[in-house]
């Protein structure tokens, strides 16, 4: 365990040295623009667009950080040949992989929660007429983090057998596909006019259940519309967190199985 933690801390430190937090700076600038951009709209529209765009920016920045980190974690070590030094020590391959993944995840965590905190403070200062701290925004940020955990695991899994270039597009393609759960679920059901064949339904049903469903984690809507009452919000969030952990475990297991046989 200590080996994994050492590797994770090393990966986190390296990411920080690569000034990954500069992304946070850009996001901060985008948010400052955002807080003043829609003031000419009606109060309701202004708040809806600000909240949605703010959480959307955090999510999008999170995806870029997760993908770019995830696709480079292993190939970088191979390219720089530092992996030989590490694996020549009493470090098992699966420990190396898990350590790198956790280090990347810690970087994503720090970034997303810094962005989230900035957004919460910004909303309280510039948008909320009573300057209330909207802690419910952090529920959305938490779910974005678990969404990014899944993206990171996916990118790490692909990184053990594809080049970073291919991995970038592959991870993004799956992210977009998995963000359309509503559509894949709908296509997996019989159509109203009965024209959708059983074969098509089976394919989409399989896609819906086997591809990671990133859309599960989009809980912005009730945060944007506080008057909306959501049934069992905590159950929904807990189920999704469990989903993210299990799915990430599957991705890492596949990565370990492939990486174990790979010649480096």
């Amino acid at each position: 365990m200590s080996t994994i933690l050492t590797l994770a801390s090393g990966t986190f430190g390296e990411a920080m040295r690569r000034k990954i937090l500069n992304v946070f700076l850009f996001v901060a600038i985008a948010m400052i623009v955002l807080f003043f951009a829609f003031a000419s709209f009606s109060v309701t529209s202004d708040m809806i667009i600000t909240m949605s765009t703010g959480l959307g920016i955090i999510s999008l920045a999170g995806v870029f950080i997760s993908v770019i980190l995830g696709i480079n974690l292993i190939p970088n070590e191979i390219e720089k040949r530092t992996i030989y030094t590490i694996l020549s020590k009493p470090v098992k391959r699966h420990e190396f992989l898990i350590g790198k993944f956790l280090g990347g995840l810690a970087t994503v965590f720090v970034n997303i929660f810094l962005m989230g905190a900035l957004f919460v403070i910004g909303v309280a200062l510039f948008k909320d007429p009573h300057h209330h701290i909207r802690l419910d925004i952090l529920e959305g940020v938490l779910m974005i983090f678990f969404q990014m955990m899944l993206v990171n695991a996916l990118a790490v899994m692909f990184s053990v057998f594809t080049s970073p270039f291919v991995n970038f597009f592959l991870t993004f393609a799956i992210y977009i596909l998995g963000s359309m759960s509503a559509i894949t679920e709908s296509l997996g059901q019989a159509s109203a006019n009965g024209k959708r064949s059983a074969g098509v339904q089976i394919i989409f049903k399989a896609v819906h259940f086997l591809v990671p469903n990133f859309a599960n984690f989009n809980v912005q809507n009730p945060i944007i519309h506080p008057e909306v009452v959501i049934q069992s919000m905590s159950k929904y969030m807990a189920t999704n967190i469990l989903y993210a952990i299990i799915y990430s475990t599957i991705m890492l297991l596949i990565a370990i199985l492939v990486f174990d046989r790979r010649e480096v």
Binding site: F41, S42, T44, S45, I48, I49, S52, T53, L55, G56, S59, L60, V63, R93, Y175, I176, S179, M180, S181, A182, I183, E185, S186, L187, A192, H208, F209, L210, N213, A215, N216, N218, V219, Q220, N221, P222, I224, H225, E227, V228, V229, I230, Q231, S232, S234, K235, Y236, T239, N240, L242, Y243, I246, T249, I250, L253, I254, I256, L257, D260, R261
Partner: protein, 476 residues
Amino acid sequence: MMNQSKRTLGILAVLLLYIPIVFLQSVIDPMRKQFELANTAGTINTVGRALPIEFTLGAATGFREAIAGLLWVRTDKFFHEGNYDAIVPMVRIITWLDPQNVDVYQTGAWHLDYNFTDAEQRSDRRYLPLSVTLLEEGIANNPTTTKLYADLAFTHYFRKMCNYEKSIEWYRKASAVRVIDPKQPLSVDPDTGLRDHYVVDAITHKPTPYADPTIVGHGLAHALTAAGDIDGAIKQWQFCISEHKRLMVESPSTAAQDSSGLHVSEKNLNETLMRKQFRVLDTKTPEDIDLHAWLVRTAPMKFRFEGTANFVGAKKFTLEGHQVTWGPVDGARINFRLEDADYEQPQSLPFDLSVKLPKHVTMMQDSGAVSNGHFTRRVNMFDDSLGDNPMYPFRAKRYKVTFWFNPADPASCPPNLQDRIGWVGEGMTDKNHLDVSGIVPGALEGPQEKSRVRLVTKVIYLTRDDIMGTGEKKFE
């Protein structure tokens, strides 16, 4: 490197872990509906085709509500520019992207009900079924938001369609709204319906049972009155009074609003009690309305809707020991409607991007105020019969013109007239045109059997040649 048994175990673990994934996804799917795009099964194809790819991608990657919000701002601009045809698909896309944006359902349905008009500001009633669909969809997507129920009940069914039974039905549904949020307690008194919605008071920070006794509570009392259920209305006003009093204590932040609501409720309760006592006597002998109505074509597609009606009001009554005579009464309105003779308007229409409005149908509805026993109203349908997409295309061979008087409609029958003829016309008759079918023209649904509304109705049939002919001609 792993040995073979560990490797097999790893592969087995991957396969086994997919079982909880499938299980969790099937648990998540029904819950996820609360957060995502609406009605995907029905509209996915048309919306998917019409939505530009950048919007689809944006929507799929977390900017859904922002896109919907920006589109809604754009839609508002279309309305101010008078570009009504662009509004309907925009409302469809926005509510699809953000089904929790209650404002869009409310304003969109209001546009459909009232704001697509001809040159003389008469609304295009071909849109009414779409409005029903939109609001019902909004309610399905936001079942705990009473605003939408109240809008459907009042703005749509009560005011626009005079369908009081449907209005009561939706008000009752609004009253029965339950908040099923584990963070908030359930109702202490579920049978009364109005105590199930909780708000946290801004001053005391305590949860308070609340179902908007003004919007929902008063509205239901008015609808019960219009439907002739006076005892029900009295009970409802009493309930509103107790609710306002309770809220003035429990919810200080809305005390001023409830104080105003309390005064209105008390005034309306007293008036209803008084009317209940006296109208029984005043309506004993039915008054003959003696409706005469006719249509004068003044030029092709230009008309005068005219007629006479005997609205006497509480004409003879005793005041301070003296006999007082009052009448004829001004302020009543005779409604009229010109439409294709064979067209039956559907109760609702599917609301997708390729809305199939009955563009070939002509349907016009308006009313004329009765003054000194006479009403006249000029209607120019010619200007809106031109262009590619006219509101009055006049394609049918035969047309039906209906004149009617609805005593239950507060917009048609002022209280002083109701004092004589009763809430639902129980004190009126007409030797030629009394209509006890319970079907209010233009109400989409009927008959309203429970309300027992009595109308005075006259129907005239015209041919297309009658409509298009030149020179002045009277039809009756």
